[in-house]
Symmetry: C3
Subunit: 139 residues, 3 copies
């Protein structure tokens, strides 16, 4: 395990804008506040979602779109710099009226209502290409 | 995005009482400790659960009950004041023996065992009616 | 609710080793850093997973194995001492390419890529046998 001790510089509560994109909301916030490394947890609801799954053999993301209102039962993510911009790596667990659940990497989702707690760290995080997984990883 | 910088005043670990209600446990704890704003993450198991889904068109919650033992694979929530009392807005991801998953807004659930980490903030949070979503939101 | 106020001593970001076991990675890290109490949240992907469900009547864990690549949409857990060693109690929500979701107690899972945020507490946590649930609980 590759680890790094970090120090929290600032903490934020945020209410995401109705109609905005969930991930972009976090990224624009990070850019505006000068946050280059953060961890966040959130919950709420989206009007639709584009969920990605990483094909570990082909090393490509597969996308599935849900054009329907869904609860965000859990959202876990972090902010790091990617190509000079804050990137919010975001995973989410979504649910239907029946309780049926859908989950994965949340590439996009139109916010219905979103509540997020974010901790910004003093030490910047930068994503770089990892040969083994073909993903952009930090540390 | 509507955001607010916050400062953590106190942190707690909690073990929820067997047989109690998951959400009420958090709310009674907040009332007892004078916590008016908090973020929490939890895990454990429940003996049953009442899960809500918000109908974004009709602006009403739909409820589905699961009268069966379930793992709490994830619980994300926050505490804010609503009508003068601490309200624990709680989302959860639950699972069956097969691994099948159910999720949504956790209105109620009888605790089998529950482990929660909660951060209380100095700044009080208050929920107020939001016209666009017809929900009580903070910030 | 049995609660304890805690103080965070150190915070870490970690990137789990490709090919290692998810839970062991956390436990070995805790042992190496002398962490006896912690809360963590994570996300990523696994190459396979062994997920447990606790049978609340028979008081035994049931195991189900998924020998397939899965996203880790959410991982919530904590570290406490059990029989003198750090034990990482780990719950996870996993997902398939379709978005279909599987969840429960994560006993094991081969890391494809894993990102974890962990807070270590000053106060040690120790798991002890609880008669009501037949589980090892802390507090």
């Amino acid at each position: 395990m590759n680890s790094r001790e970090v120090v929290t510089s600032r903490e934020f509560l945020a209410s995401l804008d109705h109609g905005a994109d969930w991930r972009e909301e976090v990224e624009e916030f990070a850019a505006r506040e000068g946050v280059e490394a953060a961890w966040f947890v959130g919950m709420g609801a989206v009007q639709d979602a584009e969920v990605w799954y990483y094909d570990q053999s082909d090393k490509e993301y597969r996308s599935v779109s849900f054009d329907e209102p869904l609860e965000v039962a859990s959202c876990v993510g972090n902010v790091a710099m990617l190509d000079g911009e804050p990137f919010a790596h975001t995973h989410a667990v979504l649910s239907r009226e029946s309780g049926q659940t859908l989950a994965g990497h949340l590439d996009a989702g139109t916010v219905f209502a979103g509540e997020v707690y974010l901790r910004a760290f003093e030490e910047p995080l930068t994503r770089e290409h990892d040969e083994v997984t073909d993903l952009d990883l930090w540390l």
